[in-house]
């Protein structure tokens, strides 16, 4: 059975949210200040909540009886279709905040546009997610500004994070055949149209942070088609371990 574009598309949205939420949850108990332990947990919870809503819907679209956990816990890395950006390691606090800024500066206008989708379920999930992503942009932007314009060390780390992660931002705006079919049907927003909003947000933050925006350079991609970095396998190993060791058990 071939999967429908809508299933694939919804799964991509779910995987993005789960993998980034999982990454953020790795911070718990390790953050630089207690308030950030709480904030990073909050961001992670938002994303895991989004992932669950998208997985449930993907399962319905597919109609083969897979629920949110079957989709999250029983697919291998090659079947995961998140963008490469979200699976990048947490690194230091600057890398985590930069990754969050890049993702949310895309996701916020994206969900804003997805609210107008002709697919009522996607539109409804987007309506909730857009508010959350607005907060993610604000929180990560504030930190990138503080770090960029803080001490020499924090400036150096923030610039390094930007330079290392920039190569994963191109994939956010790619539209393949799956996506184009849905754009034409009025279900998916055209991400190319979101580019200006992303650029403006990043430029404003980088100016205030006294950071150099990285040059265009080569853009890595492939995650959405299941070609991942080495990191995803380790995430799934940890994420899926109980479901794999005790097949069929209910938790």
């Amino acid at each position: 059975m071939t999967e429908t574009p809508l299933f694939r598309y919804t799964l991509r949205l779910a995987d993005n949210a789960l993998v980034l939420g999982h990454r953020l949850s790795e911070w718990v108990g390790r953050a630089p200040v207690l308030e950030e332990d709480l904030a990073l947990g909050n961001l992670g919870l938002d994303l895991i909540g989004q992932a669950r809503a998208f997985y449930v819907y993907a399962g319905e679209i597919e109609g083969r009886g897979r629920d949110e956990d079957a989709l999250a816990y029983l697919r291998d890395a090659g079947e995961y279709c998140n963008v490469l950006l979200v699976e990048q390691p947490n690194g230091d606090f600057a890398a985590t905040m930069m990754r969050q800024l890049f993702y949310s500066a895309f996701a916020h206008p994206f969900f804003e546009a997805l609210q107008k989708s002709r697919d009522a379920t996607l539109a409804a999930i987007a309506a909730k997610a857009v508010k959350e992503m607005a907060y993610h942009v604000r929180h990560s932007a504030e930190w990138v500004i503080r770090l960029g314009d803080g001490t020499d060390e924090s400036h150096r780390r923030a610039q390094q994070a930007a330079d290392d992660l920039w190569t994963y931002t191109g994939e956010l705006f790619e539209a393949d055949a799956v996506e184009r079919a849905l754009i034409e049907a009025g279900i998916a927003p055209d991400t190319a149209a979101l580019r200006a909003s992303f650029d403006n947000a990043i430029n404003d933050v980088f100016d205030e942070a006294t950071l150099q925006r990285p040059g265009s350079g080569f853009m890595q991609s492939g995650g959405r088609d299941g070609r991942h970095s080495e990191h995803l396998g380790f995430i799934l190993t940890e994420l899926q371990f109980l479901q794999r060791v005790y097949p069929g058990a209910k938790w």
Binding site: S25, G29, P32, L38, I48, R52, T151, R157
Partner: protein, 334 residues
């Protein structure tokens, strides 16, 4: 910001005055709340700082054993619930530190004392979480025991602590139900492997949980004074007994066996009697030789050290921003 300035005792001589002491005690006896700027005996203040700080530290260190399992939680629902729970604990830590700050200490100092090993946290968190069932057990038993200890603190004589505890207890009782629900899923609806996992977890955690109530009354150092000041309202042994009586039927419903061959119901008193607690283990773990004391402290120290550059950056940025605002105001004024 903390309120030390408001609490400086400019009446050192008067403080010794037994009239103050008597008035203080009569207010406590009348169940009035003592507030931050009220006169209070030094020893009362010290006892509270010690207890609230220890409680706050316990919340923060308590995030670690459960935090272990966030990335391995077996379903998305469990993952979200555990992440939210661990976050609640961080939140409890935050408002307990705030309550301690009303007594003239700062969070930074208290954290430093924790990291230097000068202040303690609950010993229960020095035990490892080895399976998913441990997450159920922590909710059911560790949070259950904490609630027994903490419900009376909602009526504690010190206002800020009492008020913090009201909110904390509400969240803890939600955690406790959540933990028990994990146990029900494992034990009543689970596979034989899941039941075995649950039994193993109970075997490892039962005795350490009983130790959470502290030494037996005959060996407890702090009880008398704390009772008189209404910081404490029940003795360690009373609370332990209440906990056991509430918990045994819950364990029986799960079909689990408590790892105490001497446990039996006394039909005359209506209480469950338990075997001898191994207080040498308790003393050893408190003294630093529990299975995870070193790991827990190392994780806290690492987080603190690895985050130092972030805190410095935030401070430097705030100073720059203030300087720029002042400069702009000067220019505007000229």
């Amino acid at each position: 910001m903390y309120t030390q300035a408001l609490n400086i005792k400019d009446m050192a001589a008067a403080a010794e005055d037994s009239a103050f002491d008597a008035r203080f005690q009569s207010r406590v006896d009348a169940e009035e709340k003592i507030e931050p700027n009220d006169w209070m005996p030094d020893a009362y203040r010290r006892t509270l700082v010690r207890q609230i700080a220890q409680h706050a530290h316990s919340e923060i260190v308590g995030m670690l054993p459960e935090g272990n399992w966030i990335t391995r939680a077996p379903s998305l629902k469990r993952k979200a619930a555990l992440l939210a729970k661990v976050q609640d604990e961080g939140g409890h830590g935050a408002y307990l530190y705030a309550a301690a700050e009303t007594l003239g200490v700062s969070r930074e100092d208290l954290v430093e004392q924790l990291l230097d090993g000068k202040q303690k946290y609950s010993s229960i968190f020095n035990y490892p979480t080895l399976s998913w069932a441990d997450i159920g057990i922590i909710g059911w038993l560790v949070d259950g025991a904490a609630i027994m200890n903490q419900i009376p603190l909602c009526r504690c004589s010190y206002g800020p602590y009492a008020r913090a505890m009201i909110r904390i207890c509400k969240e803890e009782s939600f955690h406790q139900r959540q933990g028990y629900e994990i146990m029900v899923t494992l034990c009543r609806d689970g596979t034989p492997e899941q039941k075995a996992m649950a039994q193993d977890a109970l075997n490892r955690w039962w005795w350490p949980v009983l130790m959470m109530f502290g030494p037996s009354d005959k060996d407890s150092q702090h009880t008398d004074k704390s009772m008189r000041w209404k910081i404490k309202r029940f003795t360690n042994d009373d609370l332990r007994q209440k906990f056991i009586d509430a918990t045994v039927p819950q364990g029986q419903y799960l079909g689990l066996t408590f790892p105490d061959p001497a446990m039996k119901h006394n039909d005359r008193t209506g209480h469950w009697e338990h075997g001898e607690i191994d207080w040498s283990e308790f003393k050893r773990v408190v003294a630093g030789d529990g299975p995870c004391n070193r790991q827990r402290m190392k994780q806290r120290r690492d987080a603190n050290e690895n985050g130092a550059w972030v805190r410095e950056a935030a401070l430097a940025f705030a100073q720059k921003r203030r300087a720029r605002a002042e400069a702009a105001a000067r220019i505007a004024a000229e």
